[in-house]
Every structure is written in structure tokens, then in C-alpha cells.
């Protein structure tokens, strides 16, 4: 018997748009720095140092809470999660979750709508610090520790176990990514900026936690595997244990973590070095929440006349939405611009680490797109030519107008030039001309010949008109 599935998620989002770490003035952007270059006495936990809360981090966490329709309690506090691990300099993590207290999170009881009328409840949202990173070098028994990331601000988003289908998880994560992008709090395409752990159980069975899923794209795969595993075990009446399993990216399976996972006791207590923080309603109201994906979608549909489907694709990926709006600002032809982006440009895009299409490696920008749309709309080039040009621009970043002049690809509308070609065709293909007298379809053959001779540049309507005129003259 196949049992019903319950899935809950824990999403960790780095606040990459902050200047400094959560509790000190080291750079928030630790990427690309030399090992242990981005550290100070506070973030490596030297004796006597104290955490100084980054107010901007609090602001970003509140924005996320609001965007996910959470309640923000009047008082927020921090607590300590105690455990030993070499990448954790203080051997405790400052977080907001506290199993002994009820109201420590920055946001709680939210809800997110996604897909077609689907929804998932958000249990809580909390600010916490990222640990450092262990570096395992090949062929060595030791691990080295890089603390550059230590103390970077993370927001943990915990959902209720409302998912039943891994496909929905995928849709939800897409929506979540888009919301975080639109809020301007996280560059989700940076490696490791967005991480997701999942809890899965079937029937009334025990909860299995899946960790180490490298990309959002793999979450769906890991869940599908894990559900199959649990259903199969159930079928064979094998007990499912509460455990933590790691996603093996190479073999595409989940496997039991090497360390034995007894229920760890984190000995939570309120962080004495950070006094309770009053979050006034006035302050929350003063925060500017940027336009969120749902509102943007409505605007695209209502103001620009885009279809539901196209709007969805554009808002799911903020980069696309922004590209679309910039191009429309240059040349106001929203429907054609959106179509060029969604059906043509996207075909060239690669997937990034978070599993979404990225334009990062493409040299195409809003100017290019606006120009192409305009050229096609004004009948200067045809669609096939435009597609070819897009393929080139993506690699070179050249302007379409320049490419057109170089390659003589504009549409020929000059009747004199067209007539010269038509005359030539009539000379060469006398039989075909005679055929048209019997078979009216043969006229298309003549048109095809003209198109071939002009390498597709002849304006088909004008050419047809001229051919008909010529035939009548004969």
C-alpha cells in the first residue's frame, strides 16, 4: 500500500546584500578571498569578544518575514545552540530558535502561495550565523578550517510539513527564490547562498531528514528517491528509522550519515550578550518592501497585456523580469519583447547552481532585445534572421543594427531591385512560368526561387505582388 507523504523544508538563505557579517564588521561577501583573510576577533570567537547585532540584517529578516506573510513579534531575541564542531569558533551558534522559549523568532505563522492555487505554511523564520568551512585536501588525514564565512548572516525559513509531492517542492522553491531575489536580500545564484534541507515521512512513520542537497534542482530528485525508498521499505514491512540522510550527488541516492545521529541536545538558552530587541510596528511599517513576484505578474498581465504563462516565466526569474522591463522602457512593444525573451533567448540559457536558468554568461542586454523587436516589428528583418542574430549577439554582444549592415540581412522591399531578380528567374525558368498558366500553385515555386536568390531577404508580400503583375503582363 502506498502511504501518504509529508514533506517539510528548512531553507537557509544567506543575506548576501549586507555589507558586513551578522555580528562584526567583516565583509559579508567572503567569496573569492584568501583563506582566513576575512576574519576579526569577533567572528573567530576570540576570548572576550562580544557580538554586535547588524541592524540591517534584522531589517532584511523582517522584510523576508513580511513577504512570506509572517507575524513579526514585538520582541525578538537571540539564543545559543551549543554543539562542538571545528568550523564553529565559539562552539555555539547564535540563532533565534530556542526549544525552551516560544517567541524568539523574527517571523512566524506565515503562508506562501505558489503554482496554481497551492499554498504552504511557514512555521518560523530566524536570523543566525553561518559557521566557517572545513576544507578536506586530497590524500590528507587532516581538515583545514577557513573562517571567512564564519558569522555571515543567514535567515532560516522553516515550513510546516505541507508538501505531498516533490514536484510541488520544486515549484515552491522557485517561488521562494523569486521572492528573495525581488526583495533584494539574496543573490540566489551565488554558490551556497541558498541551501535546503528536507524532512520526509510516510503515513504516521518516523521523520527522515535529508541534508547536503547541493542545489535546489536536486531537492526534487532527492525527495523522489527518498519517498520511493520509504514506500518500498514499508511494502516489505521494514521499519523506517528517524535519521539524518545525506544526498549523494554522484550516485543520486540518499544514504545514512556516517556519524551516528542520536538525538543531540543543543542546550538552548537565551543569548545574554544581545539584549531583547523591541520591534515596533512603526518601524516595520517604515520598511520599504519592493514589488513582489505576484504583484509584478499582475502588472505584466494588466499593463502590458502579456499572457499568464509568459508573465509567470518572467517573474519566476527576477533577472528575466528585469531584462523585459528594461527592454520595454527602450522600445515599447511588450508582447513581442516578452516573446523574444521567453521563446528565443531563454533557449540559449544554461542552468545555474540553484537550478534556474541564468543569463549570466550571455552578452545580450535590453538594448539588443529592444532593437531586435523593433527591426522585426518594422519589417526590417524577418524572424529567422532575427533568431540567427540573437545566437550571435549572445556570444559577442554586438548590436543588431551593426550585424545587419555587415551581413546584408535587411529585408528587400525596393521594387526595382526585386523586379530585376524576378526578371532573371523568369528568364531561367520559362517552363515554370508556363506551368502557372495551368497550375496556380506553381506561383509559389517562383516565389521560392526569388527568396533563394535573395537569401531570404526579399519581402514575400511585395515579391508575390510583383510576380503576379509580371504574369499578367505575359
Amino acid at each position: 500500500m502506498v502511504l501518504p507523504v509529508k514533506i517539510g523544508l528548512e531553507i537557509h538563505c544567506q543575506l548576501t546584500e549586507l555589507n558586513s557579517k551578522l555580528f562584526c564588521s567583516c565583509y559579508s561577501n567572503y567569496r573569492g578571498k584568501d583563506i582566513n583573510e576575512n576574519i576579526c576577533p569577533v567572528c573567530i570567537g576570540l576570548p572576550g569578544t562580544l557580538p554586535i547585532l547588524n541592524k540591517k540584517a534584522l531589517e532584511h529578516a523582517i522584510m523576508i518575514s513580511k513577504a512570506l506573510n509572517c507575524k513579526v513579534p514585538e520582541i525578538t531575541m537571540f539564543s545559543r545552540k551549543n554543539y562542538f564542531y571545528p568550523d564553529l569558533p565559539k562552539n555555539f551558534q547564535i540563532t533565534q530558535y530556542d526549544s525552551n522559549e516560544t517567541d524568539t523568532s523574527i517571523g512566524k505563522n506565515g503562508i506562501v502561495f505558489y503554482g496554481n492555487n497551492k499554498k504552504t505554511r511557514i512555521r518560523r523564520i530566524q536570523l543566525e550565523e553561518d559557521p566557517g568551512r572545513l576544507i578536506f585536501e586530497d590524500g590528507r588525514q587532516q581538515a583545514l578550517i577557513d573562517y571567512n564565512r564564519s558569522g555571515v548572516a543567514l535567515v532560516e525559513i522553516v515550513t510546516e510539513p505541507d508538501f505531498t509531492d516533490p514536484k510541488d517542492v520544486r515549484l515552491f522553491l522557485n517561488k521562494m527564490t523569486s521572492i528573495l531575489e525581488h526583495l533584494g536580500v539574496c543573490k540566489t545564484d551565488l554558490e551556497g547562498s541558498l541551501r535546503c534541507d528536507a524532512n520526509v515521512s510516510i503515513g504516521d512513520g518516523k521523520k527522515v531528514e535529508i541534508k547536503n542537497v547541493g542545489s535546489f534542482g536536486d531537492v526534487e530528485k532527492a525527495l523522489t528517491y527518498e519517498i520511493t525508498r520509504q514506500q518500498t521499505m514499508n511494502l516489505h514491512e521494514i521499519e523506517i528509522k528517524a535519521e539524518t540522510r545525506h544526498w549523494d550527488d554522484k550516485r543520486k541516492i540518499t544514504k545514512q550519515s556516517r556519524s551516528k545521529e542520536e538525538e543531540e541536545d543543543y542546550r538552548y538558552f537565551l543569548e545574554p550578550d544581545i539584549p531583547k530587541i523591541m520591534v515596533e510596528e512603526k518601524y516595520i511599517a517604515s520598511l520599504q518592501i519592493p514589488e513582489l513576484p505576484d504583484d509584478r505578474k499582475s502588472r505584466f498581465i494588466n499593463n502590458f497585456g502579456l499572457s499568464e504563462h509568459v508573465s509567470q516565466i518572467l517573474i519566476d526569474n527576477k533577472e528575466l523580469g528585469d531584462l523585459f522591463e528594461s527592454a520595454v522602457n527602450i522600445y515599447h512593444s511588450p508582447v513581442s519583447i516578452s516573446n523574444w525573451i521567453v521563446s528565443d533567448i531563454l533557449a540559449f540559457a544554461d542552468y545555474d547552481s540553484s537550478g534556474k536558468k541564468s543569463l549570466e554568461n550571455m552578452k545580450i542586454n535590453a538594448n539588443h532585445i529592444a532593437e531586435i523587436a523593433k527591426l522585426v516589428d518594422n519589417n526590417k528583418i524577418n524572424r529567422t534572421t532575427a533568431k540567427n542574430i540573437i545566437g550571435k549577439i549572445i556570444k559577442t554582444g554586438e548590436l543588431p543594427s551593426k550585424l545587419i549592415n555587415e551581413k546584408e540581412v535587411t529585408i528587400i522591399t525596393d521594387e526595382q531591385i526585386l523586379n530585376e531578380t524576378i526578371n532573371k528567374i523568369f528568364e531561367e525558368g520559362k517552363n515554370a512560368v508556363v506551368d502557372t498558366k495551368k497550375n496556380s500553385n506553381a506561383i509559389n515555386f517562383l516565389l521560392g526561387k526569388v527568396m533563394m536568390a535573395t537569401r531570404g531577404r526579399a519581402d514575400p508580400k511585395i515579391t508575390m505582388k510583383l510576380i503576379k503583375q509580371k504574369l499578367e503582363q505575359i
Binding site: 576570548p47 572576550g48 551549543n82 571545528p86 565559539k90 538558552f269 550578550d273 539584549p275
Partner: protein
């Protein structure tokens, strides 16, 4: 020149400024004295090698007519759990025996800004956990009044070095009485300020929610001077209070000066004290009566929960604070080769002293799931009860008085094997830490050559009241003796 070490802050600063002696002469006199007598006391862990050079710099400035700071030339002893840049800060522990901080604690920076000179780092119980300074990795500190007796703790080095005139003043830290207890045992003045008035940035945490750095001096005026230097909002410590909160309160207090001051004597604390100690308290009360203070006995019922609450909270916080000593980023020589990291952690952490281990274990236990509600949560409830009851008392009384410690200084080794007996001597002092209020210990007399101190507590931010009344008391009883060394 042999009298130089006896001078107080004002005497030193004015003497140097007026050219009676140079800063170099003064600092040398302290170093000579340390050289001569510290082998008997063992107050210092590390001496500051650049102290003399700093003194010379000050002399040069004065010669040139350049301005110097208000503490120019004084020699200060810093408890060795307060971070000093380029100067070893060991916490009297093997775990930090090689540790040299790359930054200065805020209080140290403030003192250096006023041209005070660090003489050296002084002894304490390991990580400030203890009441006698017998738990130091670098050996115990002896009481200057009788070297067979304990000097109190945990800021034993701070109190003994001032009492033995090896420094002008010193800094200690007070988590449950660690400034006041040794001040009482060594017959010097020590202040535990209101929680949040002095920055803890750079103080190596034992119990964050309880402790404050404070001054120890030969008299109230020195303590007041150092307190005003080190206090104030610090952006490196989120728990420090805004300056205007204290200033406003101090200003208000001045206008109350003409009012008769009311003193409450806490019955429960007198009942538990040794007979010699309680005798001394009653005679101190007479001194206050003669000063026209209004005195009466009062009661603080929640006293009975104070010690249990204190030791639960302090050990819980300590168990977490001390988790970072894993020898990865700093520590002592112990090759990690061939160890799995969990095994290495255990090996390293076996090097804490016994009292520290005891407190880490207790603290870990009281926080563990299933016991949190039974111990830690209850301790917090008791803490707010004590706070509320004290607040009520301060509606009626300006000051609350008791002995600082319920017993006389005792012999070295006498209580070391009995932790519970040892913890009992903190009963009077922990009240101020649990409630965040200021408290001072001032010398009140002697019994058989052993000092007795009284503790005066005031409501939070009422340091000004403490100083004013302590100063009057100090003048009236006029204890001007020095230990014979």
C-alpha cells in the same frame, strides 16, 4: 622615595604633574616593591615590560609642556581575564597560558587614553571561578595581612596588589562577588558597578549576564575616579547602557543630597554571619547613625534562593562560554596529529582545573533537555523574585548594608576541598549580580589582624549615592593602616 607606593591616585598624579617626582621614579618604586615582596604574595602573573618606557614618555610630555591625561603616571594592575594587546592574558588557566590578545578591552583602552600605565596582569581563580584565588594555574595569591590566609577571590591578585602597594589601583571583575570579597579580605575598596555601566568587551566571559568589571583602590576617591574613567556606552558591547541614563540619574541624586539617608540592614545576612563579623557590622551601623543616617533592620526573604539561583545561572552560561577553548585557534602546545577531532577536544579540555571542570559539568547538566525547566528556568524565576524584592526595598531605603563576606579571611587550604562551604561565602555578594545593582565593599575594621569589610548596595545607577556615603564612612572610621611586609 620609599613612601611613593603608598600614594593614592590623586597623590601620584599631582606629584608627577607638580614635579615632586617623575613618572619613571614612581613606576620604578612600584616595580622595586613587586620585585621585593611579590614572592611572598604572588599577585602578579605577567609584568608589563614596557611600563618604564611609558613612564618615560609621560615625563617627556610633561617636560615639553604637552598635555597629559588625568591618570598620567598611575600604575594599574589588570586582572588577567581582561584582554591587553600584546600582553599575555591567561585567565590563570593552562588553556590560555600562551594566549596574547590582538586587541585591548574597552576599559583598558580608556585607561591608556588617560595615560594610566599597566604595571602587569594580576592573579585570579582560573576563569574567575572561585572565592579565594587558590584555583590559579600559576599558584595561589596570599593575603598581604597574613600570608598564611587566603586573600579572597576571584580578583585576589587585584585586591592583594593594591593592599600591598604594588600598584596604585587595579581592575577586577565581579560575577558573584569577585571584586568585593577580596577587597574585604585585603582591606581595600572595591566596586561592582550597575550592570551595563562598564563595557565587558575584552573581559573573558565567565557568566555574561552577571559580571561587570570594576575598580579596586586604597580609598573611595580612587575607586570613583577609575569608575568614571572606565564607564560609559560602548558600541562593542550591546549590553552597555546609554550615557544619559546614568548622567541623568546622577544629576537627580545631587538634588536629593539634603535628604536624610535611610539605611536598611538585611537581617538574613547578619543572622548567617560569624559573630566577629556581625559585631563589626553593628559598630559600623553606629558610625552611620553618628553621621545622622537613619538605620533600621529589614528583611530580604528571597535571600534563601540567591546562591542556588546564582550558581545555576553562572555555571550554565560558563558551560557555553568555555566551550570555545578547543585549542584550534589559540591555546597551548598539544600536537593534534593522529587524533580524531572529538578525541582531541576531550584531550585538550581535560586541562581545565578541577573547579572549572566542576562548573562546566554542572552548567551542562542544568541546561540539558528535560532538566532545563527544573533548574535553569527556576533559577531565572528566583532571580526575578530577588530583583523585585530588592526593588521594593529600595523604595524604602537608599542603601542596604551587610558584611561583604559572612566570615573572616580563613587559612589557605581550609575550604578548598569543600566546594559547598566555599560557595556559601558568596551569599551576601551574589544579590547585586543577580539584580544588576551596584555594590561596594569598604574596610570596616579588623579582628586579630584580619580585615573585615562591609558591603553597601544601592539601587541601579545609584553609584553616586554609594560613593558619597562610603566616603563619609571612610573618613569617620579612618583606617589608615598598611600590611606589614
Amino acid at each position: 622615595m620609599s613612601n611613593l607606593p603608598k600614594l593614592d591616585v590623586q597623590g601620584v598624579v599631582e606629584g608627577i604633574r607638580n614635579g615632586c617626582f617623575t613618572a619613571e621614579e614612581y613606576i620604578s618604586s612600584l616595580l622595586d616593591r613587586i620585585e621585593k615582596i611579590d614572592k611572598k604574595i604572588n599577585a602578579f602573573i605577567t609584568l608589563n615590560k614596557s611600563a618604564i618606557n611609558q613612564a618615560k614618555e609621560i615625563d617627556k610630555k610633561i617636560k615639553r609642556g604637552d598635555p597629559v591625561g588625568s591618570l598620567a603616571g598611575i600604575g594599574i594592575g589588570i586582572k588577567d581575564n581582561i584582554s591587553t594587546i600584546n600582553l599575555k592574558t591567561t585567565c590563570a588557566s593552562k588553556m590560555l597560558s600562551e594566549y596574547v590578545p590582538p586587541y585591548n578591552a574597552t576599559v583598558v583602552k580608556k585607561l591608556l587614553d588617560k595615560d594610566a600605565i599597566i604595571i602587569g596582569k594580576v592573579n585570579l581563580d582560573e576563569f574567575a571561578m572561585g572565592s579565594t584565588t587558590e584555583w590559579s594555574f600559576f599558584g595561589l595569591t596570599r593575603n598581604p595581612w597574613n600570608t598564611g590566609y587566603v586573600c579572597g577571590g576571584s580578583s585576589g591578585g587585584s585586591a592583594a596588589s593594591v593592599a600591598a602597594q604594588m600598584c596604585t589601583v587595579s581592575l577586577g571583575s565581579d560575577t558573584g562577588g569577585s571584586i568585593r570579597c577580596p577587597s574585604s579580605f585585603c582591606s581595600v575598596v572595591g566596586l561592582k558597578p550597575t550592570y551595563g555601566l562598564v563595557s565587558r568587551y575584552g573581559l573573558i566571559s565567565y557568566s555574561n549576564s552577571l559580571e561587570q568589571i570594576g575598580p579596586i583602590g586604597k580609598n573611595v576617591s580612587d575607586v570613583r575616579e577609575i569608575f568614571s574613567t572606565i564607564s560609559g556606552k560602548d558600541f562593542n558591547d550591546n549590553t552597555t547602557l546609554d550615557n544619559n541614563i546614568y548622567n541623568h540619574n546622577a544629576e537627580n541624586n545631587k538634588s536629593y543630597n539634603n535628604k536624610k539617608i535611610k539605611i536598611g540592614l538585611i537581617k538574613e545576612l547578619i543572622d548567617g554571619a560569624d559573630i566577629d563579623v556581625s559585631k563589626c557590622i553593628y559598630s559600623s551601623l553606629d558610625v552611620f547613625k553618628n553621621l545622622d543616617f537613619e538605620c533600621e533592620e529589614t528583611s530580604l526573604k528571597s535571600t534563601e534562593y540567591a546562591l542556588a539561583s546564582y550558581y545555576t545561572i553562572a555555571t550554565a552560561e560558563a558551560s557555553s562560554n568555555l566551550a570555545r577553548y578547543d585549542n584550534i585557534r589559540y591555546g597551548f602546545e598539544l600536537d593534534p596529529e593522529e587524533y580524531e577531532w572529538n578525541v582531541y577536544f576531550s584531550k585538550v579540555r581535560g586541562n581545565f582545573g578541577n573547579e572549572v571542570k566542576r562548573r562546566i559539568i554542572v552548567g551542562t547538566y542544568v541546561l540539558s533537555s528535560g532538566y532545563y525547566g527544573k533548574y535553569y528556568l527556576k533559577a531565572q524565576k528566583a532571580r526575578s523574585m530577588i530583583k523585585t524584592e530588592l526593588k521594593q526595598l529600595f523604595k524604602k531605603y537608599d542603601l542596604l548594608i551587610s558584611s561583604t563576606v559572612p566570615v573572616l579571611p580563613f587559612k589557605i587550604g581550609e575550604k578548598i576541598d569543600d566546594p559547598l562551604m566555599m560557595y556559601l561565602i558568596d551569599v551576601n555578594t551574589v544579590l547585586a549580580n543577580l539584580s544588576g545593582i551596584p555594590a561596594v565593599s569598604i574596610p570596616a575594621g579588623f579582628k586579630d589582624g584580619l580585615p573585615i569589610g562591609i558591603q553597601i548596595m544601592a539601587d541601579e545607577l545609584e553609584e553616586e549615592k554609594l560613593f558619597n556615603s562610603s566616603e563619609l564612612f571612610e573618613k569617620s572610621i579612618n583606617i589608615n593602616s598598611y600590611p606589614d611586609l
